[in-house]
């Protein structure tokens, strides 16, 4: 039985209130005007997992925060909060904290939307004074025509609420709400969060011209970048930049893989602009990731004295801050805006069939198949023996694998789902065997730079040097271990079974 209802047209809160008061044992509990605020991660992970996190704010009281299953009134109050939680870790109760941490994966909880709502509460009591149901009538002065009735049944006494609802429905006063009351309010207040996918899936037709298809894909991912700009500028969550850069990297990768579909001069120009953008965003991302790992590294080096650790933390923090300020300036600059604008105009023109290169008009499936083959052969050229001594070789393999993955995923609609899934699975196995020692590499270099940056004025701190040495040793041993793993995974990838799978994709036989 549903528990959230919308008043029928022409029915207002007064009428619903009168109906409730006509029931025996109903006691009005007063009216409150609150600011209802909905919290979620920037990519709406809670909503996607079927949860609503809403807070009722009424100054001077602390917020009343509930975690609710969407579409239901089953809720847990998050006790003990004096302000809105900024992250799942701010939730005091371990069970809820764990639940939220799993869903949000460290992302910030942002107020995605808020609006003023008037809540009238009614308690239904039996003759013993036992609460048997609670009714809430919610209205908003911003959207006067909408009224919501919520029924909070008390376990073991559900029939009481059901009786009232049946009567109201028979009288035509209410109808079930088709969506969660939270989303209903957001929509009514004109603040429904936009749907967001960090990796949109783009419908493409095999026979479509390559340049048009590519334009469609690039436009969607450019949109992802733009959606994340505001979050980066406001520094709400490091994940905004993460998603921005994944989209940017995908775009660059496709631009490279399908280069013959675009007029060479324009391709060269945008290629240069996009890699400049990649560099401009790289520093902050590096510092974000380093900042996240620093404590782990320090914990692994207990011999680093506390003062040196604190200095290093400070140094990372201030470098990050500088990178952030620089990126913010860049994203707000007229130069960036106009570059993005001309990129957008270029994509529009490309979508209309202009600026096509040599292969711009051939069917996209053929072009993508050729690119797939090229990427796969590049991976097969990898030499595990060389990689044993040269981490850069391993890193090149990693990059080639990523490029292949972007191709498979970006153009996934061109392929039969099962074949594609199997191909991606094989690739993933190889990718996870390679692990990510690259981060360690980058961090080693970054730390070296930070430590030496300090030494301009004073000699490098022995504690920081100690950290560098330990990190370097760890990196070396991790890499040696990984090459062995990669050997096996690479042999598997090279096996005829997997290669046939890819060959079938490339020839578009399923």
């Amino acid at each position: 039985m549903s528990c959230q209802f919308q008043a029928s047209p022409g029915v207002d809160a007064e009428m619903l209130g009168t109906l409730l008061l006509a029931q025996t044992g109903m006691q009005p509990q007063g009216t409150r005007r609150i600011e209802r605020c909905y919290l979620d991660t920037f990519d709406h992970r809670l909503a996607q997992a079927g949860w609503a996190l809403d807070a009722d704010l009424q100054s001077p009281y602390p917020p009343v925060v509930h975690l609710r299953r969407l579409g239901t009134e089953q809720q847990d109050q998050l006790h003990g909060l004096t302000s809105l939680p900024a992250r799942a870790t701010d939730v005091p109760r371990p069970r809820l904290r764990n639940q939220l941490t799993k869903i949000t994966a460290g992302r910030a909880l942002l107020p995605v939307s808020a609006g003023e709502i008037t809540v009238r509460a009614f308690d239904c009591m039996d003759e013993r004074g036992k609460l048997t149901a609670r009714f809430l009538i919610e209205t908003s002065s911003e959207s006067p025509a909408s009224t919501v009735l919520r029924v909070q049944a008390i376990t073991g006494f559900e029939p009481v609420g059901q009786r009232v609802i049946r009567a109201a429905r028979r009288a035509g006063l209410i109808k079930p709400l088709r969506e969660d009351c939270g989303l209903f309010w957001l929509k009514k207040l004109g603040r429904a969060p936009a749907r967001y996918r960090p990796k949109p899936i783009i419908p493409l037709r095999a026979e479509q011209g390559s340049s048009r298809a590519l334009a469609k894909l690039l436009r969607a991912y450019t949109q992802v970048m733009q959606t994340n700009e505001a979050g980066i500028v406001a520094d709400l969550d490091s994940e905004f930049l993460h998603d921005y850069r994944v989209a940017l990297r995908s775009i660059r990768s496709w631009l490279g893989a399908l280069k013959s579909t675009i007029a060479p001069d324009l391709r060269a120009r945008f290629r240069a602009e996009l890699s400049a953008l990649n560099r401009a965003t790289g520093e902050l991302r590096d510092m974000d990731v380093l900042g996240g790992c620093l404590e782990i590294y320090l914990a692994a080096c207990p011999e680093v004295p506390p003062a040196a650790a604190a200095a290093l933390r400070h140094r990372v923090q201030s470098t990050r801050e500088a990178a952030r300020a620089a990126l913010k300036t860049h994203l707000l600059s007229a130069e960036y805006q106009s570059a993005m604008q001309s990129w957008g105009e270029f994509l529009d023109a490309l979508g209309r069939g202009k600026h096509a290169g040599r292969r711009g008009r051939s069917p996209v499936l053929n072009t993508v198949c050729r690119a797939l083959r090229k990427r796969r052969l590049a991976i097969l050229r990898f030499d595990p023996v060389v990689a044993r001594h040269d981490p850069e070789t391993l890193h090149e393999l990693r990059k080639d694998c990523k490029k292949l993955r972007y191709l498979l995923e970006g153009f996934q609609r061109l392929y039969a789902p099962e074949a594609l899934q199997r191909a991606v699975r094989e690739l993933k196995t190889l990718q996870s065997a390679m692990g990510d020692t690259w981060d360690l590499h980058v961090h080693h270099e970054l730390l070296q730079r930070l430590v030496q940056g300090d030494s301009a004025e004073s000699p490098p701190d022995p504690g920081a040097l100690q950290l560098l040495t330990t990190l370097g040793e760890r990196l070396g041993s991790l890499e040696r271990k990984q090459v062995a793993l990669v050997d096996a995974a690479f042999a598997r990838f090279r096996a005829p079974r997997v290669q046939r799978l890819y060959a079938r994709l490339e020839e578009n036989r399923t």
Binding site: G80, P92, R93, D126, R128, G129, K130, L131, I154
Partner: protein, 258 residues
């Protein structure tokens, strides 16, 4: 889910009063709590205005693995539910004895609620029976109210002996003094002596107060109608002492308590 059982072979020592008030305080601290009223008299349910049921045949009840879920009733307080007493369970002992493992049956039933609650409080009847053995088996801790009288103290000592003889871990026993009248010399002496003999006693006691007595009229936990009264404060202090003993967060950082 952690399980507390309020137990004493003696009747009228404040078992139910403790169950009701501690469970209420635990729910205020943010724990999802359920009270299981295992005393067929239904006193715990009475305080929450929930009537006993009189339906199930005990045998069928014990056999239904997920039967307890359906028996749960919400109280007037968020986060606090209750499984009312069942008048049909007066002879639960006999029904229990039919099972191959008669002492673990009730614990099995309660485990169906494992995912729904953080804490369970079991209010027990004043008997030593197969039902109590089930309670010893399923409880993580036994809260034992002791009135400062020689007889009551002796009853606690007997429970201690019983526990040693029956493999009931002594660390499970959490005695505390109940219905204390500090004006009485005897009470004070007994309390001091008991604390010396039984270091496990919780360092907080419940005085005899008219507000706790009034729970019967008000049919509600004492904190809800006499917050700040000596009785309400004593139960809060007991809750804190309990949490400290077993390493539970007592929620005292929450703004609205005491």
């Amino acid at each position: 889910m952690k399980v507390f059982a309020t137990y004493n072979v003696k009747g009228g020592v404040g078992k139910t009063a403790a169950t009701v008030n501690l469970a209420y305080l635990a729910s205020r601290a943010g724990y999802r709590c359920v009270i299981w009223d295992l005393d067929p008299q239904g006193a715990a349910g009475f305080y929450f205005r929930i009537e006993p049921t009189a339906t199930t045949d005990p045998q069928a009840f014990l056999e239904k693995k997920r039967g307890l879920k359906a028996a749960v009733h919400g109280t007037n307080y968020a986060g606090l539910d209750l499984i009312p007493a069942d008048l049909g369970h007066r002879n639960l002992d006999i029904a229990l004895s039919e099972f191959r493992k008669p002492t673990t049956r009730l614990g099995k039933l309660l485990s169906a609620l494992e995912d729904d609650y953080d804490l369970a409080f079991v209010d027990c009847a004043p008997h030593l029976s197969l039902v109590s053995e089930n309670i010893f088996e399923m409880a993580d801790w036994l809260l034992v109210p002791v009135i400062p009288t020689p007889l009551s103290v002796r009853a606690y000592a007997q429970l201690g002996e019983f526990s040693t003889a029956h493999g009931l871990a002594r660390e499970k026993l959490l005695p505390f003094f109940s219905m204390v009248d500090r004006r009485r010399q005897l009470h004070c002496e007994l309390i001091t002596q008991f604390a010396a003999d039984h270091p496990e006693v919780l360092r907080s006691f419940i005085p005899y107060t008219s507000q706790v007595e009034k729970m019967g009229e008000q049919r509600a936990p004492v904190q809800t109608f006499a917050a700040g009264s000596p009785g309400a404060r004593a139960f809060y202090a007991l809750w804190q002492a309990l949490c400290e003993r077993i390493g539970l967060d007592d929620g005292s950082h929450l703004a609205d308590e005491t």
